[in-house]
Amino acid sequence: MVELVQPEKPRSRLKIYLDVLSAIQAEGEAKPTHILYKANLSYDRLAKYLEELAAKGLITEKTEEENRYFVLTPQGREFIKEVRKAEAFIGGFGLTI
């Protein structure tokens, strides 16, 4: 039997970074639960990616009344802008991030 529908490729690390950062950008100050829902990640994986993004200086963590929030740094906003432009550019050559 011929497979007519190709299985969806797993997201690249960069795509996951972009999804997480976009989720934070949409909220302004985003709670982890909101990010994992919007970025479609398990809690363990989200914790790993948030740690990586914070280490790269793209996000910072804030704590208010025992609630954790994540906000974009200026570098994080610039990173999203660059990745969006790169995504549009490579789309012209049939590539995706």
Partner: protein, 228 residues
């Protein structure tokens, strides 16, 4: 007649200059985004457009400088021949790189013109061998370019049919126009037609203009996505 031929070839050099600038701009952006994305196909795009842009600029600048210095563009000149050879080599190599990159991504002159060019030839009989050698080199280069570009255009059609992305359509239109330009240039070599050569250059420039529109639009689309 010689004067007209000189003007056509001078305009051709200016178009090549503009096309080369666009090619180098695309190469720069592909290189810049590759630092972020680390994609092998993007490396091929960057390297291919860099070779094509360098070749176009070397050929165009040499022709403009030699014309300005010698006041004739039809007379055979060793420097021009060398610049043309470098350009043709880089052109064929760049189209090969594009074809390779796409494969990688997909599977992992009128009679009047002839008359004045031939008039130039008879005037410089002792240097005929330059033309004959140039004819053969040009013919092979055009044929190879057409083969590689046909593959690139085919891949471009596949990419567009899958994505229906307006930006990939602009890239496809760009490569299709460059492909059509090389068909016209091949005809210009066979017909020894300066006007056909100039027409080929205009079509190729239109291809690069499409690429420039793609570059500008991709920047805007990226900025719009970021804003939304």
């Amino acid at each position: 007649m010689i004067e007209v031929a000189s003007q056509i070839l001078y305009a051709d050099a200016l178009l090549n200059l503009a096309s080369g600038a666009v090619a180098l701009l695309i190469s720069y952006y592909a290189f810049h985004f590759n630092k972020l994305l680390e994609n092998s196909v993007l490396r091929f795009v960057s390297f291919g457009f860099m070779m094509l842009g360098m070749g176009l600029l070397v050929e165009a600048v040499t022709r403009i400088v030699v014309t300005a210095t010698l006041k004739t563009i039809v007379a055979p000149n060793l420097l021009l021949s060398l610049a043309s050879a470098i350009y043709l080599f880089l052109q064929v190599a760049s189209y090969f790189v594009f074809a390779w990159g796409y494969a990688l991504g997909a599977y992992t002159q009128t009679k009047v013109g002839a008359a004045f060019l031939l008039a130039g030839l008879t005037k410089y009989q002792r240097l005929r061998r330059y033309y004959l050698a140039g004819f053969a080199v040009n013919l092979v280069a055009q044929l190879l370019s057409i083969v590689f570009l046909a593959f690139v255009v085919f891949q471009g059609v596949l990419v567009y049919s899958r994505s229906h992305n307006r930006l990939s359509l602009m890239v496809l239109v760009g490569f299709t126009l460059i492909f059509a330009a090389h068909l016209v240039m091949l005809a210009s070599i066979l017909a020894v037609s300066g006007l056909l050569l100039a027409l080929g250059s205009v079509i190729r420039f239109a291809g690069f203009a499409s690429m420039l529109v793609f570059l500008i639009r991709s920047g805007r689309v990226g900025a719009a996505r970021e804003a939304s």
